[in-house]
Structure formats: structure tokens, C-alpha cells
Chain length 118, copies 2
């Protein structure tokens, strides 16, 4: 997406995973695709807090990392769908763990975040 100037430390597994999953909307995108929201325009509508451009960029990154793959249907009107790869499906337990923790601790986090409500 952007060009990195500083090398990263990919020693520990945590950093490897964070490298792939970090990105404001990536986990949401993976979750969405997994739930069957496969087309770009659907994702744009579903994650409407993010600008479409951002979703596109993060989709491209996820594709580069081999988390999702893109299927372009030849017909017209244009139709594109994204799917999780096998490796991408492997991230689902992580996503689920994140989601679960977040839901269980929503109250607490809401109390302690400075202002960031929406």
C-alpha cells in the first residue's frame, strides 16, 4: 500500500499476524467476506464508515498477502467477488477471538476511552 522505510521485526508470531491483520478495516473486511459479503459494492455499503477507496486498498493488500482471492466474472455488467483463501480462513479464529473479546468488554471499553464515541 505504501512503501515502508523501516524494516520490521517479524520474529514473534504476534507481529507476523499483526502485520497482516492491522489496518483499520481489514478484520472487518475479512469478517464480512466470511459472512458472504463478497462484492466490493456490498462491502462499501456494509462498512459505510470507511471510504470506498480505503476498502479497495485494503482489499488489494489482503489479496497480496494471500488472505483473499479475487474472482472476476467475465460477463457484463462487471462483477467481482472476493473469497477467503485457505490461509485467510485460518485467520477466522483470530477474528472471532477479537470479536468475542470486544463484545464482552464493550461496556468497559466505552467507559475508559477518552471520547471516541460515535
Amino acid at each position: 500500500m505504501y512503501e515502508r522505510k523501516i524494516p520490521e521485526d517479524l520474529e514473534c508470531g504476534i507481529n507476523i499476524a499483526m502485520k497482516v491483520l492491522s489496518g483499520k478495516w481489514k478484520p472487518c473486511i475479512i469478517d464480512g467476506i466470511n459472512r458472504g459479503i463478497r462484492r466490493p459494492s456490498e462491502l462499501h455499503m456494509h462498512i459505510d464508515a470507511a471510504a470506498p477507496r480505503v476498502i479497495n486498498m485494503q482489499l488489494r493488500e489482503l489479496e497480496e498477502y494471500g488472505i483473499i482471492c479475487k474472482k472476476v466474472y467475465p460477463g457484463l455488467p462487471l462483477k467481482v467477488e472476493y473469497y477467503l483463501t485457505e490461509i485467510g480462513e485460518g485467520t477466522l479464529p483470530v477474528i472471532r477471538a477479537l470479536d468475542q473479546w470486544g463484545n464482552e468488554n464493550r461496556e468497559h471499553v466505552m467507559k475508559v476511552v477518552p471520547q471516541g464515541q460515535e
Copy 2:
């Protein structure tokens, strides 16, 4: 840590969790504390790719979020230790899921990251 200008979307659990866990070194810090690396200087040595200042800042944030708590021993020389709170312990499954995925997919990620080796 910094002052946020744009409100966040904490609708879905994923975003809530990412808010608390995102930060280049936070998951490593949580993991370290959980493994018994409790003192700041120990953490500095253990996570030596990060500047001490950064660790300090992320520790403060984690404390604000109630993930860790800080115990200051009155004696001298100074001694400080951090512990996971109950809520902090709740993040361990997430951290473990991240670590596991990262370790299982190290090879793959190494192949696809542009250059970022270290």
C-alpha cells in the same frame, strides 16, 4: 497517548478489541507481562526493537484501558511491576490466537511481504 480528532466506530466487537490491542508493541507487552516479564527495564530489554519510551507510552495506555495495573513498591531502589488485570487476562486468548496464526504462517508471510525482513 495522542489526541484523537476523528470519532471512532465502536459498533462491532472487532473494532473495540482493535482499539485496545492496536499499537505496535501492545500485544507483545501483554504477552511479556503474562510470561512474567513484569518490570519496565525487563520489558525494555526483552522487546529491544522498541525504544524504551515507546514501551512506556504503551504501558500507560494499557493501564488506562484497564488491561494492566501497575504496582509500585515503596522501597528503594525503585521497583515497579505490572500485572494483567482480570480484563487483561481476558485478552490472552486473542493474543494466543494471533501468535499461533503468526507462527503457523511465518513462511507464507515472509514470502509475500515486499521487503520487510530484519
